[in-house]
Amino acid sequence: MFGLRYLTHVVTLELDEQKCNGCRMCVEVCPHAVFEIVEKRAKIIDRDACMECGACAMNCPEGALVVNAGVGCATAVITGAIRGTEPTCDCAADPDCC
């Protein structure tokens, strides 16, 4: 409830351990220590810490990782809803936002 942890049981991250070649790239690029290598294969050890940035899936040479990546930003969700697009922090109409 306190601390810098977000909602639990919502993250879309999926790892196909059969495809993993143990290259460690996911461990290297993950900013929240979601993965660990156990017996030469990646393992998700802290799924709820995932912020769905997509770096792991982007850098997995075996395509073993799938995540519905996007910006975890309410303003982006609202902007997307108004424009009828996916959440976007591309604020052409608002030069002051991210």
Binding site: H32, M51, E52, M58, N68, C73, A74, D96
Partner: protein
């Protein structure tokens, strides 16, 4: 400096007062989208064909943070065209991405400047760059450096190895504090619109519209709106880990309610600032609603919220905010006539 491909601009590792002033201005969201450097290759110190190549974004603060860590060292800095956006945000949009990286390597003729084929990218660029795709398509190998430029020298000394702590994104008090001005500046336009509405409505009363009333009712309305603004855009973001959550909207509502209670509690002791309990009570709904909305938008500035989580949070928070604000406004207007 001179290289096989001609002159390459050299940047200083020491930041000047102008750089600091520039950073201060963009933190207040002044000209933030125009704070750019031209993309291309830069030299720090006196790099040779064996020196490391570090890649960054063309947001000037990104380049400043990087070069200021490199005092006394020789390196190449390749700046990608990210439209003046920092590395992590640009990687999320894909402008700090595989295609731009490969294109930029070609354009600056990097193969003619260095004899190796290694690039060091900030770890947070990995959201937009696929290391294996870059190697397949261009032959350049990517090593992801640490998250923070401050760890770069330690990373290089360790033989381009990052410790697990260097790979972690944290969101400490200092980082939350430096974002407060931006948050206040960006939210100020909402504050302005709402404040004007309340000032206009403040003239309403059982005796008709009175300009005289605008001063009394308007000023205490303004006080409550400012309380909501600072609670949601400054206090809650700074106190983030110590507030009940995990939803940001809840954290904001909590601080907003507390702020409203503190101000209104003066009325309980005796004659206070409000005309009637309806007016005071309406703010107990409106201040938390506004603060909750502002803090919810802080998810975009935070470093750990997922899109799925934000969607889940908004699913219950937005109807609650709209409901509380609407009832609050109705009660407030009714209070003007009693």
């Amino acid at each position: 400096m001179d290289t096989p491909i001609g002159k390459i601009p050299r940047v200083k590792a020491r930041l000047t007062s102008r750089d600091w002033y520039g950073s201060w201005k963009v933190r207040w969201a002044i000209g933030r989208t125009r704070y750019r450097v031209p993309p291309g290759l830069y030299a720090v110190g006196a790099p040779t064909h064996e020196s490391p190549v570090l890649v960054t974004a063309n947001y000037k603060m990104s380049l400043d943070l990087l070069r200021s860590e490199l005092a006394g060292h020789d390196a190449w800095i390749m700046v990608l065209d990210t439209k003046g956006i920092n590395v992590w945000c640009a990687a999320g949009k894909g402008t700090f991405g595989t295609a731009e990286l490969i294109d930029r390597i070609d354009r600056v003729r990097l193969s003619d400047v260095v004899s190796h084929r290694n690039l060091i990218l900030p770890q947070l660029g990995a959201t937009g760059v696929s290391a294996h795709a870059v190697e397949d398509q261009s032959g350049w190998r990517i090593t992801y450096g640490p998250v923070r430029a401050g760890d770069l020298l330690a990373f290089l000394r360790a033989g381009r190895k990052a410790t697990p702590e260097m790979r972690r994104v944290r969101f400490p008090l200092f980082n939350r504090l430096v974002l407060v001005p931006t948050e206040l500046a960006v939210s100020s336009k909402y504050l302005l619109i709402v404040a004007v509405c309340f000032l206009a409505l403040s003239g309403l009363g059982s005796t008709g519209y009175s300009v005289h009333q605008i001063q009394a009712v308007g000023s205490r309305s303004l006080l409550m709106l400012l309380a909501a603004y600072f609670a949601g855009a400054a206090v809650a973001p700074v106190l983030l880990p110590w507030l009940p959550g995990p939803a940001f909207s809840l954290k904001g509502a909590f601080v907003g309610l507390l702020a409203a209670l503190v101000i209104i509690s003066r009325d309980w002791a005796g004659p206070g600032i409000f005309d009637n309990p309806l007016e005071a009570g309406s703010w107990l709904l409106m201040v938390p609603a506004v603060a909750s909305f502002l803090t919810m938008n802080y998810t975009g500035s935070s470093t750990y919220t997922s899109l799925s989580g934000v969607r889940r949070e908004m699913h219950f928070a937005v109807p609650a905010q709209i409901g509380a604000a609407t009832i609050g406004v109705v009660v407030w207007v009714v209070g003007r006539f009693i």
